[in-house]
């Protein structure tokens, strides 16, 4: 019984961390059809922002929840203005340019902080479930992942900004004719996506530690989750994370973490063969 609870929580954790690492990328891909391969480095920068701020005496919660998203959000807007903006509508070129950006950030951070692991201790303690103990912080992450998804849904559904964003996503020319400036919507969207990515990077820093090259581990998973999910931001990310998180954690429990990881990737390959445009390309059409 205890084992079942722990296993269920592990699976929830797996799903939550997939949601956290991929939701920022999903926003940018869903709204702008831009694949940002520097996404992993945005997570990495969020992690460093949180760690540096904490080491300079900032409260850890403020560092993770405020400093990280602001820092990475600003970096995102600058990157959009300088690079992404020039390449709209050229998916492969954007992908390659952001790959260059990713190498640039890895090199920059290695030069500044050195090629060593930095970390902060996870706040909150742990609670006991029978013979096992569970980190409260990991439970909190599950809550935050759910909250982020709900917040995105609420903003897109109920606010004027969400309406503008959805309109631009649906038909940029029509939106422009009605007085909305698509470039500004794109810049804002990219900034918001980057900020959420920074938040996720800050939140994951206490768990996984940060290394200049940590982004590579994230970006592939995020990329795979988002593409397999399809273009619907909420439904796509949630359904793909649900599927892959479960496969990964179950296989990890039954065999080894490596097989779990390989299982996740194999599941993605099979899924795309059956549903070539991702889950939401076929199911839940028209959802957000």
């Amino acid at each position: 019984m205890d084992l079942a609870v722990v296993l269920a929580l592990e699976i929830l954790n797996g799903i939550a961390s997939l949601v956290l690492i991929s939701v920022g990328l999903a926003i940018v891909f869903g709204m702008m059809r831009v694949i940002n391969l520097a996404h992993g480095e945005f997570l990495m920068l969020g992690g460093y922002a949180a760690i540096v701020a904490t080491n300079h005496g900032v409260n850890i919660w403020i560092a993770m929840l405020v400093v990280s998203p602001i820092v990475v959000g600003i970096i995102g807007v600058v990157a959009e203005r300088l690079i992404i903006r020039v390449l709209y509508g050229r998916m492969i070129d954007t992908l390659l340019a952001t790959w260059g950006l990713s190498l640039f950030f890895i090199g920059l951070v290695t030069t500044i902080f050195g090629n060593t692991v930095a970390g902060i201790g996870a706040p909150l303690g742990s609670i006991a479930v029978g013979r096992y103990s569970i980190s409260l912080y990991r439970l909190l992450l599950v809550g935050i992942a759910a909250a982020i998804l709900l917040a995105i849904y609420a903003v897109l559904r109920t606010t004027r900004l969400g309406l503008l964003a959805r309109g631009t996503m649906e038909n940029p020319n029509m939106a422009a004719a009605l007085g909305v400036s698509p470039p500004r919507v794109y810049a804002a969207t990219f900034g918001v996506g980057a900020a959420i990515t920074g938040l996720a990077g800050g939140l994951l820093a206490p768990i996984s530690g940060v290394l200049p090259t940590v982004g590579a581990a994230y970006v592939a998973k995020a990329f795979i989750t988002v593409i397999s999910g399809g273009t619907a931001i909420m439904a796509g990310t949630a359904s793909a994370a649900l599927l892959f998180g479960t496969v990964n954690q179950l296989l990890t429990y039954l065999t080894t973490p490596v097989i779990g990881e390989a299982g996740l990737l194999a599941a993605a390959i099979l899924l795309l063969r059956v549903l070539p445009h991702g889950i939401t390309g076929k199911l839940f059409r028209g959802s957000l």
């Binding site: 390449l87 340019a97 290695t110 592939a220 390989a262 795309l272 070539p276």
Partner: protein, 341 residues
């Protein structure tokens, strides 16, 4: 038939390769010769993506999967057999078969652009993860221990076919690698000049039209992808032989990104471009690595960005374009002068 279509550029490049192959061992020392050998091996790898992406229009993030598969196939076979001829042959066959299976899976499933990228990337990462986890005595193929992330050291190097005791010395290895590079380069040009090659390029240009004209688009894509896999596998065996060592890093994202940078910098849609890009970037990486002036990733990132944003065609096509523009500029005043008179 084919020879009539041979352009001057191909002859010049092939002649340059022969000149380097014959001349280099006379002028450079042994260390530099080893450097040249690995450069040439990587040029073969660059050519494999150059043909798959530049001519087939298939952006493959998994060229390092075939490269690594070739390297590991060579390593395992060479350790087991103790003779390199079969190992080299298998290092072509195994990646080719795998590429054919993967290609069948993708192209007959009608997957395209980004989705293709995700699948090839996933496959590469699966190989990377799996080979990394093969540490320990349990993971062995025959007599070859895979050794996980530590890699497989002291592999048998190339020998004269049939006589396992007679190993090739560095100069002979260099001759062999240069000869293979020349064969791959000229062979690919011959293939692209053939009917098959023209259909492949036509598919890149307009898939639907090719299909309507009665060509099997899926089969052509699969075949060119398979060929790319075989060539990458050959490069893998050359790389494993060069260092007598292979580790899971051959499957890493770094390897994949390097191959893509070579092709981008050199020029998409040419064969000499990837070779030039590969040599230039490798030379730069070696220099940066020894001088410790700036981080290699940082410089590579900037070069990558500059090329995608400012020189998207790469060095070779841009030079061609520049020359064409200069010659029209030179022709124009002459024409105007005639009109004036």
């Amino acid at each position: 038939m084919i020879f009539r279509r041979v352009g001057a550029g191909i002859v010049v490049t092939a002649a340059a390769m022969v000149a380097v192959a014959v001349g280099a061992p006379l002028v450079v020392d042994e260390f530099q010769l080893l450097q040249l050998t690995v450069f040439a091996s990587m040029c073969i790898l660059a050519l494999s993506l150059g043909v798959v992406w530049g001519y087939g229009g298939i952006l493959c993030f998994g060229q390092s999967a075939f490269f690594g598969l070739g390297a590991y196939t060579y390593a395992v076979t060479a350790v087991n057999v103790g003779e390199s001829t079969l190992a080299i042959a298998l290092s072509l066959v195994v990646p080719a078969v795998f590429a054919a299976l993967l290609g069948y899976f993708m192209f007959y499933g009608r997957l395209s652009d980004v989705y293709l990228g995700v699948i090839t990337l996933s496959v590469t990462l699966i190989f990377f993860n799996l080979t990394n986890s093969t540490a320990g005595d349990a993971y062995r193929i025959g007599r070859a221990r895979l050794n996980g992330f530590n890699g497989m050291p002291s592999l048998p190097t190339f020998n004269v076919p049939g006589t396992p005791g007679r190993l090739l010395d560095p100069t002979e290895t260099f001759y062999l690698v240069m000869a293979l590079l020349l064969i791959v380069y000229v062979g690919l040009h011959a293939l692209l000049a053939s009917h098959f090659g023209r259909v492949v390029v036509a598919v890149r240009e307009n898939e639907t039209r090719c299909e309507l004209l009665g060509y099997d688009v899926r089969r052509h894509k699969m075949l060119i992808f398979t060929l790319g896999g075989a060539i990458a596998g050959l490069a893998g065996s050359l790389f494993a032989n060069w260092g007598a060592f292979v580790s899971p890093n051959v499957f890493s994202l770094t390897t994949t990104s390097q191959i893509i940078i070579w092709v981008i910098v050199g020029g998409l849609g040419t064969l000499v471009g990837p070779i030039i890009g590969c040599v230039v970037m490798q030379y730069l990486a070696t220099e940066l690595g020894t001088q410790q002036l700036a981080n290699t990733s940082l410089i590579f990132g900037i070069i990558f960005l500059v090329f995608v944003l400012l020189v998207p065609r790469g060095i070779v096509p841009s030079v061609g374009l520049l020359r064409a523009r200069l010659s029209t500029a030179r022709a124009r005043p002459a024409a105007q002068a005639r009109h004036g008179a």
